[in-house]
């Protein structure tokens, strides 16, 4: 039985349909991603899993329970890491963890050792008695995640876990999340970062305008919707669109972005050679592997971060 089972889930706000007949199932121990641009309906879906947003239609269960009618029981099985850190600024790092455990009704005899364990997990031993305001962005994020683990949740819901962090802090965080995955914690991650989805997710759904547009593992999606490699060419603003007709014969597919042209092919270097031999000299060129960004571009005609 899947841990999370969603069928035809709909959420409307007045005239606006934020989530439009979405169905998916998350298996125990899996790392599942919801990928899409801002406003695609990812966070709304997350809130419906936690029962803090009421569905307009469809069915959704977490371990067989409906979060809408059995909210407190469902939330006892979940760890929630919201998009924006909402740590308790009146309390210390340690107190944040302890008090949160108490909200779940956990006894002090459990909460105390668990708090020490999580402070170590979040690498905050030196800051255990500091107030939250003294922490850096990355530290706050790690504490928020540690807090979500206090009740040993079956599922950890992470909404945009690394948005706003610098590259080093992101890598530390990914490492922490990877450890959780190895321990068998089911992760549900929303993100609009391709690299994050590729790093963390075993399987993901791509959401756009509230609808699922694709589903599969990152590798499957890339194979299905893109070529093996991509050549990114810049001819200078204004010229990009003009050279497209001449490039057409060489690529399987072409995408024109405001600042560059993307050529899809199985062998990028060879394609670049052909283009050069044809006398088309770009200002800059880059050959890379296809990524989820290309999948998204193919599926929606837009890039994820605009």
């Amino acid at each position: 039985m899947p841990v999370i089972d969603a069928h035809d889930v709909v959420k409307t706000y007045g005239e606006v349909t934020a989530v439009d007949h979405v169905s998916f199932a998350v298996r125990s121990g899996e790392s599942f991603g919801l990928l899409g641009p801002n406003g695609a309906g990812k966070s709304t879906t997350m809130r419906m899993i936690g029962g803090s947003t009421v569905r307009s239609g469809g069915s959704l269960t977490v371990a067989g329970l409906d979060p809408q009618t059995q909210g407190p029981q469902v939330r006892a099985m979940l760890g929630v890491v919201p998009q924006q850190d909402n740590l308790d600024t009146e309390l210390t790092v340690r107190e944040n963890l302890m008090v949160y455990g108490r909200y779940f009704g956990l006894p002090m005899s459990y909460v105390r050792p668990k708090t020490d364990e999580l402070i170590a997990f979040a690498q905050l031993q030196d800051k255990a008695n500091a107030k939250v305001d003294e922490l850096s962005g990355g530290m706050k994020r790690r504490l928020t995640i540690a807090r979500g683990l206090i009740n040993e949740p079956k599922v950890l819901l992470l909404d945009e876990p690394t948005t706003g962090l610098d590259p080093q802090a992101r890598h530390i965080l990914w490492d922490r999340l990877f450890r959780l995955k190895e321990q068998g914690v089911t992760l549900v991650v929303t993100t609009h970062f391709m690299d994050e989805a590729e790093q963390l997710c075993d399987r993901l759904i791509v959401i756009d305008h509230g609808k699922i547009v694709a589903e599969g593992s990152p590798a499957d999606l890339i194979q299905q919707y893109s070529s093996r490699e991509v050549v990114e060419l810049r001819f200078g603003s204004g010229r990009n669109a003009g050279v497209v007709d001449q490039l057409q014969p060489y690529a399987q597919r072409i995408e024109i972005l405001p600042d560059r042209v993307l050529l899809y092919a199985d062998d990028g270097e060879e394609l670049l050679d052909q283009v050069r031999r044809a006398g088309l000299i770009p200002v800059t060129s880059l050959v890379r592997r296809s990524s989820l960004e290309d999948v998204f571009l193919r599926l929606t005609g837009r890039s994820l971060i605009e």
Binding site: G50, G51, S52, T53, V54, T69, G71, P72, Q73, R75, A76, V80, P82, Q84, N86, D88, T89, E90, L91, T92, E95, V99, Y100, R102, Y103, F104, G105, K131, N151
Partner: protein, 266 residues
């Protein structure tokens, strides 16, 4: 399952204590100076009005026509007002901060706590503060010789009941606020209520219509009940005053729970 028990189940996990525990931990690191000002304010009023004005006014007729010194007349009113102010301060500024800025209630409701647990837990914290004020104030006015009956001890639990009514209702009202400025508007309503609710002058000095209006407001009931307790003389209105606050408190808690649900579990 009856409708009542399912309402309880959807709104509570019976863990009010966890919310109170959080409150005490926050207090421990909080600013005691702010807490203490709430204690001295009514004492300053009592000193300035009771002894300053009291020298000009002399004596007044209190409950059941009993003659009281002016300081003795306003002391119980100051206590009722301080219970109100403490509760309102806690349930407006503090609650607004936790609701809109610190997102504390959102966090609490993402755990297995229910909105009723959060509402009652926060109100208990406001009451604890009120309890300390009431204890101190009663000790001071007893020492000044302004109490004339053992009934005055009952002013402490009644101060809590007044605080409960205002805190529960204040929290519900605050949930509608979106900007800090709106709380100043609330103060604009509370100030005249403080001045005219038979706090500083007897109700009888006002025209009949105004009297009816004042008697509909909560503070008058608190002031009257306190005044009767301070001298141990009761009128047939005592039960009405008590009932007014019981109803106000129950309605406020229900209203607040519904609002928290609407705001955070939508």
């Amino acid at each position: 399952m009856s409708g009542r028990s399912s309402w309880l189940q959807a709104n509570s996990s019976g863990r009010v204590w966890a919310v109170v525990e959080r409150g005490f931990r926050a207090w421990k690191s909080g600013n005691w100076v702010v807490v203490m000002t709430g204690f001295f304010e009514p004492l300053l009023y009592l000193a300035a009005m009771g002894y300053g004005m009291g020298g000009l006014v002399g004596e007044v007729r209190g409950p059941g026509g009993v003659v009281m010194s002016y300081a003795g007349f306003i002391a119980p009113a100051m206590m009722a007002t301080s219970a109100m102010n403490g509760a309102i301060y806690d349930s407006t500024w503090n609650v607004f901060f936790k609701m809109k800025i610190a997102k504390l209630y959102e966090v609490m409701l993402a755990t297995s706590l229910g909105p009723l647990d959060v509402a009652i837990g926060e109100i208990v914290m406001a009451l604890f503060r009120g309890f300390i004020y009431a204890l101190g104030f009663t000790a001071v006015i007893a020492a000044m010789g302004l109490t004339h009956s053992w009934w005055a001890l009952a002013m402490i639990p009644v101060a809590l009941l007044i605080a409960l009514g205002f805190a529960a209702f204040g929290m519900a009202v605050t949930s509608f606020f979106t900007r800090f400025q709106q709380m100043d508007v609330l103060q604009l309503a509370l100030m005249p209520m403080f001045l005219f609710s038979a706090t500083l002058v007897p109700l009888e000095v006002y025209p009949q219509v105004v009297q009816w209006f004042i008697m509909a407001l909560p503070l008058w009931h608190g002031v009257e009940l306190m005044r009767q307790l301070s001298i141990g003389v009761f009128t047939s209105w005592a039960w009405v005053h008590l009932a007014y606050f019981v109803v106000l408190s129950a309605a406020g808690i229900f209203f607040t729970t519904t609002r928290l649900r609407a705001l955070f579990l939508k």
